[in-house]
């Protein structure tokens, strides 16, 4: 009897979690989508964002989000992959046991701390050594690149570890060196997992808000270099929602809906890719 009650209770809790997700989704779309139809898709994806004049074009923010995300991947993929390969193939058990939890701990640091480190160290460094305001695509890319490391490292590591040992033996038995084995065999064999890790990392980078607000500069224009300021979609929502009303508020929800669709798509792709392997 007690078991039955516990089961029902857990079922209820599980479904209310899914239920709240559905409600959030519904709410975002219900608030945002009508505006897109009101101003038209063309205007929504135009350059001009000027809420006081009723212009709600999000193109410059999309480009901003895209630039910091690509920048984050440029930083995160080589470091993340190198780290995963070292951990999985070259390091001793001891090193693996210490290093992997530490890297996963990176995921647990609040993003405001990353932003703070960016403001205190990275932004002045870029301003002094490369010029520009310092609050820039470059600063955001580096910080976001570090923030997505745990995702890329742990998923790539897991998929490298999952490559059967018989493949490694087969490769060594043909006279391949360890490095050749990694490059020519293990990375192709673990490719789906590695790609999934990168896509999930990408989703994290697009969705990150706090750290980016603090170091990207938030200038509402299309950046011309890595040293220019940018404003991302997420920053715009966080910065403006506090005072937005009417159509402006609806436009921010429309941004949210757009982000939502992108991130869900990335996650579905990642799940598809990993699923196909098994």
């Amino acid at each position: 009897m007690k078991d039955k009650i516990a089961e029902k209770l857990l079922l209820f809790i599980a479904f209310s979690a899914i239920g709240s997700l559905l409600l959030i989704t519904f709410f975002i779309f219900q608030q945002g989508i009508p505006l897109i139809f009101k101003i038209g898709l063309g205007n929504f994806f135009s350059m001009h964002w000027s809420p006081t004049r009723g212009q709600f074009g999000i193109l410059s923010m999309i480009i901003g989000s895209l630039m910091v995300t690509v920048g984050a991947l440029i930083v995160g993929i080589p470091f993340g992959l190198a780290c995963a390969i070292y951990l999985a193939e070259f390091s001793s058990k001891m090193v693996q046991k210490t290093l992997k939890p530490i890297i996963e701990l990176l995921a647990g640091i609040p993003s405001v701390v990353y932003g703070f480190i960016g403001i205190v160290i990275l932004v002045p460094f870029i301003r002094i050594h490369f010029g520009g305001p310092g609050f820039s695509v470059l600063a955001s890319s580096i910080i976001l690149g570090i923030m997505i490391l745990p995702t890329i490292v742990s998923i790539s590591y897991d998929s490298l570890i999952a490559v059967p040992n018989t493949y490694r033996e087969g490769s060594y038995a043909l006279g391949a060196t360890k490095w050749q084995t990694v490059v020519k065999l293990l990375i192709p064999a673990a490719r789906s997992g590695i790609v999934a890790g990168i896509i999930l990392g990408m989703g994290r980078a697009i969705g990150e808000t706090m750290a980016v607000i603090m170091i990207a500069g938030n200038a509402l224009k299309i950046p011309h270099s890595m040293l220019d300021s940018v404003r991302t979609l997420t920053s715009t929502i966080a910065l403006e929602l506090g005072y937005a009303t009417g159509d402006h508020r609806a436009a921010l929800f429309a941004c949210g809906a757009f982000l939502f669709i992108i991130i869900i798509t990335l996650n579905i792709i990642a799940i598809r890719i990993t699923g196909r392997r098994e």
Partner: protein, 249 residues
Amino acid sequence: MIVKTANLNLYYGSFHALKDIDLSIKENLITGIIGPSGCGKSTLLRVFNRMNDLIRGVRVTGAVLIDREDIHSPICDLILLRKTVGMVFQRPNAFPLSIFDNIAYGPRVWGITDKKTLRDIVERSLAAVDLFDVLKGRLKESALSLSAEKQQRLCIARLLAVEPEILLMDEPCSALDPIATGKIEELMLELKRKYTIIIVTHNMQQAARIADEVGFMLLGELIEFDSAKKIFTNPSDKRTFDYISGRFG
């Protein structure tokens, strides 16, 4: 290419896995190594291409000479040794790449990039294991889509592509059905004209069918080494007789 061992001992940590092995393997013959599970026959095979190096805590003493060179000496080129002494594993370990890339893997590792040369090598290697006619239109397909027998053939072809001289086979048919086994055995008899083959098997009938010389191992010792005919009809050691007549193992 002659393989010789003298006073070969191997330890996994404190476990004495191979004890004073002295044997000499002749060119262009199939040498079978038989014995019950855990007798050290696979370990012995893995000495010849130094596959045991991959296992932590392995210590080898004594001499292993391949073509009169000590393979454990510091001047021995391990990579070259593994090219000369190829290995076929118990379970077919075709890589998750295309059929073409599987066979081209070794040559590419050895620095061959020319497309035409690679294609020639792939075709020749597949032909050597009688797979070319079956697979010639399907070289881009994944090797993992093949049957177990074809995968094992592919693994042998992959090996031949790097032009080895000695083939080590570690129970190459244990994952195959009897018909596939028969085909792989036929292939081995064909290959022995060009290669020296050492095969580990716990299938005595298989050793009797294909091996020219046979070594019987028990608990890390090489009990008897002689022509297959002698071992299977009139062994000198009582333990060999007991094993081949099925009293244990």
